[in-house]
Symmetry: C2
Subunit: 167 residues, 2 copies
């Protein structure tokens, strides 16, 4: 059985080492907070203005201003802004209420690609690292979404290489 | 409806700001990798020698040597060792195959408390920060475990304050 990260790599076409090449550079130090705010503002403007109702509805319970609060700066070397507000990112758990399908992932990525294309304050190398990370992560969440369709018995079941982190 | 982190705070008795006081100090820089390896080795020795079969069985599919690989150094200011191997921690998603009950959380914490008590290379302040983090996180995962018992319809449902991180 394929693990979550194997599925993410296969479906996204991004190898794990390329996705986590964001860790080879501190992108927050390199780019600064304002650049992340600019990117999030552009991205969420596209999301909330999306012509597809099914996609907009995924975000309908969040205010755009809250969504813009740059949660991924924490993962890209910045201060733990997300954890201060909300605790662990717990990406799969927190996306559980939403239909994170291949189609939704592609639409999310299309908006992010356009926001990155539009960003004049981000260099080409950083854009590549960020897009690889987002692309791999989007499909990691599609793989996580598929867990909802699996049965969950009480005894611990074999689960590929997806052993829990040691916390 | 209570959010995951509200449940974690209520059930653990640890406020969110106390749990994430690990971010006020870089514990990895302060303590060094060997200290984390020592702690993990002591902790997992206790786990794999646990007299309770139901608890040991949760870890039966992992080798002790793999379990010791210190995944939480990444969250405590260290290098991204976990992500290099496995990608996103995705704490709730990756614990999904396991029965993370109140009882299991308390037993995990009892072993960690004893391992911390036994550690002569960790100062009192760091022990307090770490135990608050582990205690809050254990109950965050108990709250995550409860999601398995909720129905999951297709349309996005109200879910307290557990909005997804902006990735």
């Amino acid at each position: 059985m394929q693990s979550l990260q194997q599925k993410a790599s296969e479906w996204s076409g991004v190898k794990q080492e390329d996705a986590f090449a964001i860790d080879d550079v501190n992108l927050f130090d390199k780019l600064g907070l304002q650049t992340f705010i600019n990117l999030s503002t552009d991205f969420y403007t596209r999301v909330y203005d999306d012509e597809e109702e099914w996609f907009r509805s995924i975000f309908a319970d969040s205010k755009k201003e809250d969504a813009i609060q740059n949660q991924y700066v924490q993962r890209m070397g910045g201060p733990p802004l997300y954890s201060q507000r909300k605790g662990h990112p717990a990406l799969i758990g927190r996306h559980r209420p939403f239909p994170v399908t291949h189609k939704a992932a592609e639409r999310w990525l299309q908006h992010m690609q356009q926001a990155l294309d539009n960003a004049t304050d981000i260099d080409h190398d950083s854009k590549t690292r960020m897009l690889n990370f987002f692309r791999h992560t989007a499909y990691f969440l599609v793989a996580g979404n598929d867990l909802k369709n699996e049965s969950h018995g009480t005894p611990p079941c074999k689960h590929g290489d997806d052993k829990p982190a040691a916390v």
